[in-house]
């Protein structure tokens, strides 16, 4: 299912990004273009990999 301009509007709203409505169609197309590449990461087994610890609580 391809991304629709209305979907982009909803995503932008959820992300708090004030997007120019004229951009919605362009971004929908770009999101669809990137989706196969980014979605491919779901093929990599990462359950054994903890997210890197980036927080250091030392004072």
């Amino acid at each position: 299912v391809s991304t629709q301009p209305d979907d982009v509007a909803a995503m932008a709203n959820a992300a708090g990004l004030a997007l120019d409505p004229a951009r919605h169609a362009t971004i929908a197309t770009a999101l669809d273009a990137f989706a196969p590449l980014l979605d491919s990461l779901a093929m990599v087994a990462v359950d054994d990999e903890p997210p890197p610890a980036v927080f250091d609580a030392r004072w």
Binding site: D20, R23, I27, L38, L41, V46
Partner: protein, 465 residues
């Protein structure tokens, strides 16, 4: 005479300075003359700083004359990608969105170069915000209608065209190695955290690295000696001792175990590049290295992982611009930033976990090996109007092709050196990539030096020289 001076690498120029056969002022004047002569064609520089450079050269000359020697880069003309902050000099990241941005302070790398006595000639073009692989503002000195590569395209073009001996670049997913390969120069992407990024405009903080481009491996070693080290002002800076990059540089490769990457790294490569790669492996074997076939797992996911990390981190880094003046951004970069703001955050976390998996798998693959070699790019510099490249595996976008062999190394956080290793049938340079172990820059440079000495590829100059 000035043409001869501008073709010297920094190491040789430094020797001549110490023998008083040439002065920093003469070197700087020669570089400025060279810039004036070739910039109309090459357009490597966003901003040239002739007065500041000559003042620095005069200062260097006075210091050296008084016996105060700051080391091998003292009096050597250098340049920096316009992503490195320079005090009171605009640093705009190649973007109209940052037009007129003037930092108060120098980036840590600039401070270190100045303390080493280097002469800053100016700021080089970058692909906008370092977010791209072509650097449209610059032209490839080997073929002006072809791209210089990116994002540090101006730095690579400046070195290749003899406008400076050494130039700083940054590399998030290939941005030092890609232009080094396209322009036929040497470029070093250090281990993540090896060189301070304080004062460097970020793209993706968890992938970004800064490093040198130069005409010889020895120049990279000299540069790294100045640039490497922990910096408490950079939260990503590594507290790992700095090696002596010069001591073992001429040690050769006899007895070293070096991997030749197969699988992803050899699957869809231009035949000329593939032939050059096999010849490079034979050269290293001829120098005494033991070459082993090796697979680096998960490399197929390198570009996807790099994008999944870079998209949201870049959107965060440039969120203010995205909110306040998106119209000032270029079309492609604006779209990347907008997508980065919209993709689900869980994707970023997943990508970080994939990166951890890559790191673990590559650690195993590197067991018993000092380095792994592969092409830097599956092809050479494309025409500036070209968006698609034909490879044995099929047509692919230039972005995907250029990231394919570089991005996995960035995801793994490892150091990598790109060196000239031949020319394709069109006369365009081919890049050899040497991938090292974490903080294994000294060994990489040693291997690179042995390769460079055994071949003459690095001695070639573009026809416009």
């Amino acid at each position: 005479v000035s043409d001869n001076l501008s073709s010297l690498d920094a190491a040789r120029a430094g020797e001549l300075i110490r023998r008083r056969e040439v002065s920093p002022i003469e070197l700087t004047e020669a570089a400025l003359e060279r810039i004036a002569a070739v910039e109309p064609a090459v357009s490597a520089f966003a901003r040239v700083l002739p007065e500041e450079a000559l003042a620095s050269a005069q200062h260097a000359e006075r210091e050296l004359a008084s016996g105060f020697d700051r080391g091998p880069l003292h009096g050597i003309p250098v340049a920096a990608k316009d992503l490195f902050d320079t005090a009171r000099v605009p640093t705009e990241g190649g973007s109209r969105a940052y037009l007129g941005r003037v930092p108060a302070n120098d980036a840590a790398c600039i401070v270190r170069l100045r303390e080493a006595g280097a002469v800053l000639l100016g700021k080089t073009h970058t692909h906008e915000l370092a977010y791209g692989v072509t650097t449209p503002a610059s032209h490839n000195p080997w073929a002006l209608r072809h791209v210089a590569g990116g994002s540090s395209g101006g730095s690579a073009a400046a070195v290749a065209a003899g406008e400076c001996a050494i130039a700083l670049g940054t590399d998030t997913a290939g941005s030092i190695r890609i232009p080094a390969a396209c322009c036929g120069v040497a470029g070093l992407k250090p281990t993540y955290g090896r060189i301070s990024k304080d004062g460097v405009m970020p793209l993706a903080l968890s992938l970004d690295t800064a490093g040198p481009l130069g005409r010889s491996v020895r120049d990279l070693a000299l540069s790294l000696t100045v640039l490497a080290g922990h910096d408490p002002r950079d939260p990503t800076s590594a507290e790992v001792p700095v090696d002596d990059y010069l001591q073992g540089l001429d040690g050769g490769v006899a007895g070293l175990d070096i991997g030749l990457a197969g699988g992803h790294f050899s699957a869809s490569i231009d035949p000329d590049v593939d032939a050059a790669m096999r010849e490079a492996a034979e050269t290293l074997a001829g120098e005494g290295a033991a070459i082993h076939d090796v697979e680096l797992p998960l490399a197929d996911y390198g570009a996807a992982t790099a994008f999944a990390i870079c998209l949201p981190e870049a959107a965060a880094a440039h969120s203010r611009v995205l909110r306040e003046r998106p119209d000032a951004l270029g079309v492609d970069v604006r779209t990347y930033l907008e997508i980065g703001a919209l993709r689900p955050p869980a994707e970023h976390v997943r990508a970080l976990r994939v990166r951890a998996a890559v790191r673990r798998a590559w650690r195993t693959a590197f067991e018993g090996l000092e380095a792994v070699i592969c092409p830097t790019l599956p092809t050479t510099a494309v025409r500036a109007d070209q968006n698609v490249v034909s490879l044995p595996g099929g047509d692919t976008s230039v972005v995907a092709a250029y990231l394919a062999l570089c991005a996995p190394v960035s995801v793994a956080g490892l150091p990598a050196l790109s060196l000239p290793c031949g020319f394709d049938r069109s006369g365009l340079p081919i890049g050899l990539q040497l991938i090292g172990r974490p903080f294994g820059e000294a060994t990489l440079l040693r291997i690179g030096q042995a390769y460079e000495r055994a071949t003459s590829w690095s001695d070639r100059r573009p026809p416009l020289l």
